[in-house]
């Protein structure tokens, strides 16, 4: 899992939409494409990026391949906020130092 990958993957609005759809349950490429103004190949391409970022995983079920949110993706969100709070607290401490000095 790499945070840059997660942020880059979710930096695209269509990928965020796909990721959101999967939060309500596993879907096939066809089902995802039906709800989006993009082609099936485009959806597949986006899914590949999301998969590489560790945000979604897939599994073959009969003749269909279903995609779902990978719980490991939460690690990416957590990592993101880890950096977020690290920076925020550093700024807080800087301000305290400035005012003291």
């Amino acid at each position: 899992m790499n945070t840059n990958g997660v942020l880059a993957a979710l930096g695209d609005p269509t990928r965020r939409q796909i990721f959101e759809s999967l939060r309500s349950g596993p879907r096939s490429v066809g089902e995802l494409a039906a709800g989006l103004p993009v082609s099936r190949p485009a959806v597949s391409q986006h899914l590949r990026v999301l998969k590489e970022a560790g945000l979604v995983s897939d599994r073959k079920q009969g003749t269909r391949r279903l995609y779902r949110v990978d719980p490991g993706g939460l690690e990416g969100l957590r990592d993101y906020f880890d950096g977020f709070w690290g920076e925020a607290l550093a700024r807080f401490a800087d301000e305290a130092r400035k005012e003291q000095g």
């Binding site: 965020r16 719980p71 939460l74 880890d82 607290l89 807080f92 305290a96």
Partner: protein, 144 residues
């Protein structure tokens, strides 16, 4: 299937202010130090950050277009600490708790952000990650 709870984020910082002042700087005067350019929805458009000093209060940013909530104050106990319900989308929330304790002439500020769970979406959940991540991702990519 088991519920996956990702470990909480914990951060500690030491400041020379006693807890009373550190608490005040973190809450009432949050706008004086919060890095809005990178840590907000509106980025450079943000003109103010408001932390309402009571349980049930809102924490939000102000831009010329209006206000955007970051979370809700669940507990407000100066100078010991506060608890926020930190929004990740409309119906998906996490908790941020900040504690201030005396340490020498200053204080220790401990932050915990918890509740990253994969229990699945709740009814009405829509665009949650979009809401929280879009502005941050944009500013993060601009920075790089």
């Amino acid at each position: 299937m088991s519920t996956t709870a990702t470990e909480a984020i914990r951060k500690t910082v030491l400041v020379d202010f006693p807890p009373e002042e550190a608490f005040d700087l973190f809450t009432a005067r949050i706008a004086s130090w919060w890095p809005v350019r990178t840590h907000s929805y509106g980025g450079e458009q943000v003109t103010d950050v408001v932390f309402e000093a009571h349980a049930g209060g809102r924490v939000y940013e102000v831009t010329p277009d209006g206000e955007q909530d970051w979370g809700t104050v669940r507990a407000f106990d100066p100078p010991n600490g506060f608890l926020l319900e930190w929004l990740i989308g409309e119906a998906s929330s996490t908790e941020v708790e900040v504690r201030f304790t005396p340490e020498g002439p200053g204080s220790r500020v401990e932050l915990e952000h918890r509740g990253f769970t994969a229990s699945g979406p709740r009814a009405g959940y829509a665009g949650g990650w979009d809401v929280v991540l879009a502005p941050f991702v944009e500013s993060a990519s601009k920075k790089g």
